[in-house]
C-alpha cells in the first residue's frame, strides 16, 4: 500500500471522520488518496484556520482534531494553532508534508525544519524517515495526543515517503516504555485529602480545564454538594460546573468575580481540580490565599508546586481521583457560616455594569444567553470580548465554552467555531468576537459558506483593540497608542462572503438581530456597535493580590 493510503487508512482506524487543511506541493500524494477517501475534508482559507478548527473540533467533541498542511509555509502557518492547542492541553494531530527525504537540509523549495520549529509547542513530534514506521507513528501520535495531559502531536511526512509502497500493518496496541500516564491517584494522598477536607472550615473548590478533559464534571458537582463548598473556576474550567448552581462563584482571577477572589483569599482549604495556578489566576503569588492549605489534583506532575506550594498533591486523572475521594470523605465539614460570608460578598460585590441606555457589550451577551437559552456553544476571540463572554453568558455544560486560554490567540474564535459546528452540527455555535480579532481570520467566512457550515459571529465592535486600550487607559495615562482600529463595512463584507450581515446600533435591535441570526440557515455576522470605551471589570492589575480590585462597581 502507498504511504499516502497507509496514512488515510490509519486515520480511519483511529476513528477520524473529518480533517481541516489546505493542499500544497508536498502533500499531493495525500490529497490524491483523499480523492477516494470517505474522510470529510474541510478546506479552510488559511492553514492557521485549519489548526484552530481542528482545535475547536477537539474541544467541542473531546476527540482529537486533525489538521493537514503542506511543507514550509503551510506548516509554519499551523504553528500558532499548534502552540494554542499545546497551551490549553487540547488533543490534536497535525500532519505536514515535508520535502523529499533526500532533499531535507538542502534549502529545498518550501522547506522548513518543522519538527525543529514545533518541538517546544508539541507534546511530541515525528519526522517519518521510513515508510515501515508510518502506521505505528500514527497510532502512537493519537495515543500520545489524547491520553495523560493531552496535547498536539505533529507528524512530518516527506513526499517521497508518501509515495513509497509498504505492507499495511496496523499495530494492535501502543508500547511506549517511557510514556505511562499516571491515571489513578495515590490512595494515601486521597485519604490525607479527605481528612483535610473534614477539618476545613472555609473550603473552596477551584476547578480548571482538567475537569472537562477528564469528563469529571458530575463528580465535581457531587463533591461540591457533598462537602457544601463554594466553587470557582478558571477560564478553561468554564462549563465544568453550572453557573446557576447556588455554590457557583464564577470565574476567579484578573477578571474574575470579586466574590470568587475574596473567597479564595479568605479560604482555609483550596481543593484544586485540573487547574494550574496560572498567573492570571493567582495575581501576586506571595499574597495568594495566605490562610489556605492546598490540595492539588492534576494529571501532570510538572504542574504540582510549579507556582504555588501544594500541601497534598494527587497526581492522576481527575475523574478517577474524585470518585475515590468521594468514597473516602466520611465526615463533611460544617460550612454554614462560611457560605453565609460568601453570600455576603456575592450581595456586596455583584458582577455589574452601568446600564445607561447605550449599547453595552455585556448587555449583548446577556441577550445572547437568553436568546439561545444557554444552549449554544460559544467560542471567543481574545481580549475584552473573551472576558465579557466568560463573565456574562451562563454556561451549564462542559465543552460549551471554547476559548484560547493559555496562548491568548486573537483570530481563534471563528475557525474554532467552524470546528465546533462540524463536530456538533445540531448545536447553535456563536463566535463572540471583537472588531480587531475577527479581522485576523475573517477569511474563514468563506470556509463557512463553501462548506455550508452555519456559524454565527457576534462582533462587539468598539473601534478599538479594547483590552489593550483598557490597559493604556488605566496604566499608561490614556495615551492611546495604536489601539484605534478601523474595520471594513462588516455587513457588506459578510454579504460578499455569501453570509448574512446585520448591523445593530441600538439596544432594542439586539434581541431581534440575535433571533434572526439563530433562525437563519446560513452563517450570520452581526456587527454590534457597542460603547467604545467600556472596560472589563472587575480587574486586578497585574502583580497585585487578587482581592485588590480597581475600577468598576465591584
Amino acid at each position: 500500500m502507498k504511504g499516502s493510503r497507509i496514512l488515510l487508512e490509519s486515520l480511519k482506524r483511529e476513528g477520524v471522520e473529518v480533517m481541516f487543511g489546505y493542499p500544497g506541493g508536498q502533500v499531493l500524494p495525500i490529497f490524491d488518496s483523499l480523492y477516494d477517501s470517505d474522510i470529510k475534508f474541510v478546506l479552510t482559507r488559511h492553514e492557521q484556520g485549519a489548526a484552530h478548527a481542528a482545535d475547536g473540533y477537539a474541544r467541542a467533541t473531546g476527540k482529537a482534531g486533525v489538521c493537514l498542511a503542506t511543507s514550509g509555509p503551510g506548516a509554519t502557518n499551523l504553528v500558532t494553532g499548534i502552540a494554542n492547542a499545546y497551551m490549553d492541553s487540547i488533543p490534536m494531530v497535525a500532519i505536514t508534508g515535508q520535502v523529499k527525504s533526500f532533499l531535507i537540509g538542502n534549502d529545498a523549495f518550501q522547506e522548513a525544519d518543522v519538527t525543529g520549529i514545533t518541538r517546544p509547542i508539541t507534546k511530541h513530534n515525528y519526522l517519518v524517515k521510513d515508510i515501515k514506521d508510518l502506521a505505528r507513528i500514527i497510532r502512537e501520535a493519537f495515543y500520545i495526543a489524547s491520553t495523560g495531559r493531552p496535547g498536539p502531536v505533529l507528524i512530518d511526512i516527506p513526499s517521497d515517503i508518501q509515495l513509497m509502497d509498504a505492507e499495511f500493518i496496523w499495530p494492535q496496541d501502543v508500547q511506549i516504555r517511557s510514556y505511562n500516564p499516571n491515571l489513578f491517584g495515590h490512595p494515601g494522598q486521597i485519604k490525607k485529602a479527605a481528612k483535610l477536607i473534614a477539618a476545613a472550615k472555609k473550603p473552596i473548590i477551584y476547578a480548571g480545564g482538567g475537569v472537562i478533559t477528564s469528563g469529571a464534571h458530575k463528580e465535581l458537582k457531587m463533591l461540591a454538594e457533598k462537602i457544601n463548598a463554594p466553587l470557582t473556576w478558571t477560564l478553561m474550567g468554564i462549563g465544568a460546573f453550572a453557573s446557576t448552581h447556588e455554590l457557583a462563584l464564577g470565574m476567579l482571577g484578573m477578571h474574575g468575580t470579586a466574590y470568587a477572589n475574596h473567597a479564595i483569599m479568605e479560604s482555609d482549604l483550596i481543593i484544586t481540580v485540573g487547574a494550574r495556578f496560572d498567573d492570571r489566576v493567582t495575581g501576586r503569588l506571595d499574597a495568594f490565599a495566605p490562610y489556605a492549605k492546598i490540595i492539588h489534583i492534576d494529571i501532570d506532575p510538572s504542574s504540582i508546586s510549579k507556582n504555588v506550594n501544594v500541601h497534598i498533591p494527587i497526581v492522576g486523572d481527575a475523574k478517577n481521583i474524585l470518585i475515590e475521594l468521594l468514597k473516602e470523605i466520611k465526615k463533611t465539614p460544617d460550612t454554614g457560616d462560611w457560605l453565609k460570608t460568601v453570600e455576603g460578598w456575592k450581595k456586596k460585590y455583584p458582577l455589574n455594569y452601568k446600564d445607561d441606555g447605550r449599547l453595552k457589550p455585556q448587555f449583548v451577551i446577556e441577550q445572547l444567553y437568553e436568546a439561545t437559552e444557554g444552549e449554544a456553544i460559544i467560542t471567543t476571540e481574545v481580549g475584552q470580548n473573551q472576558m465579557w463572554a466568560a463573565q456574562w453568558y451562563k454556561y451549564s455544560a462542559p465543552r460549551t465554552f471554547i476559548s484560547s486560554g493559555g496562548l491568548g490567540t486573537m483570530g481563534f474564535g471563528l475557525p474554532a467555531a467552524i470546528g465546533a459546528k462540524v463536530g456538533c452540527p445540531e448545536r447553535v455555535v456563536f463566535d463572540i468576537a471583537g472588531d480587531g480579532s475577527i479581522q485576523m481570520n475573517i477569511q474563514e467566512l468563506m470556509t463557512c459558506t463553501a462548506n455550508k457550515i452555519n456559524v454565527k459571529v457576534a462582533i462587539l465592535n468598539n473601534g478599538y483593540l479594547g483590552m489593550v486600550r483598557q490597559w493604556q487607559e488605566l496604566f499608561y495615562k490614556k495615551r492611546y497608542s495604536q489601539v484605534g482600529i478601523t474595520s471594513p463595512d462588516f455587513v457588506k463584507l459578510a454579504e460578499s462572503y455569501g453570509c448574512l450581515g446585520i448591523l445593530v446600533t441600538k439596544k432594542e435591535e439586539v434581541r431581534p438581530a440575535l433571533e434572526k441570526a439563530i433562525n437563519t440557515d446560513n452563517t450570520v455576522l452581526i456587527d454590534f456597535r457597542v460603547e467604545p470605551e467600556e472596560n472589563v471589570f472587575p480587574m486586578v492589575p497585574a502583580g497585585q493580590a487578587i482581592n485588590q480590585f480597581i475600577g468598576g462597581l465591584a
Binding site: T115, G116, R119, P120, K123, H124, L127, I144, I176, R177, S178, Y179, D300, P301, S302, S305, K306
Partner: protein, 157 residues
C-alpha cells in the same frame, strides 16, 4: 550551584535537541554533556552538568524532562551518592628533561603521556573533578597549550 543530572533516553534523532531545548528555553547553560549508547543499543545515557541559580526552576526542568516521551528515567545526583569521572586530553610543552617530572605527576594521578612530537606532548588523564583540577594546576607549570575534556560522567553507586 552545579547540578549533575543523568538521563536514560531512547537512542533516536532529535532527542538531544528536545532535552537541550528545555534548558535553553529558560536561559540555562549546559556546563557539560556526555552522551553515549548503553548496554542496550536502543538506549543512550546522558550526563548533564548544569548551573542552576534557582532550585525551583531546576525542579521544573527535571519534571519537564520526565515528561518528554523519549526520556526513560531522570536522576539528579545532587542528593544521591555517585561516582564521577572525566577524561581530559591536553597538549603540554615538553622537553626530554621534563619527562621525569611529568611521569612523577602521573604517579599521583591516573594519566599518561600518549605521544610526544617535538616540544609538545599529548597527555591523557582520568579523574574526578578534584583530581582533574589538581592535575591541571600541576600541568600549568609546563604550560598547557590546548585542553579538551569529555565533561563529567556520573554513575550511581
Amino acid at each position: 550551584m552545579k547540578h549533575t543530572i543523568s538521563l536514560l533516553v531512547e537512542n533516536k534523532f532529535g532527542v538531544l535537541a528536545r532535552i537541550a531545548g528545555l534548558f535553553s528555553a529558560r536561559g540555562y547553560n549546559i556546563a557539560s554533556l556526555a552522551v553515549s549508547e548503553t548496554l542496550d543499543p536502543k538506549v543512550s545515557y546522558m550526563t548533564i552538568v548544569v548551573e542552576a541559580k534557582d532550585e525551583k526552576i531546576l525542579e521544573q526542568v527535571k519534571k519537564q524532562l520526565n515528561k518528554l516521551i523519549d526520556v526513560i528515567t531522570v536522576t539528579d545526583f545532587t542528593k544521591k551518592e555517585h561516582v564521577t569521572r572525566e577524561l581530559i586530553l591536553a597538549k603540554v610543552n615538553f622537553s626530554a628533561k621534563d619527562r621525569n617530572k611529568l611521569e612523577n605527576i602521573f604517579n599521583k594521578y591516573v594519566g599518561k603521556i600518549v605521544q610526544h612530537k617535538g616540544d609538545v606532548a599529548i597527555i591523557e588523564a582520568v579523574g574526578d573533578q578534584e583530581q582533574i583540577k589538581a592535575l591541571l594546576e600541576e600541568l600549568d607549570k609546563f604550560g598547557v597549550k590546548e585542553l579538551i575534556r569529555t565533561g563529567k560522567l556520573a554513575i550511581s553507586n
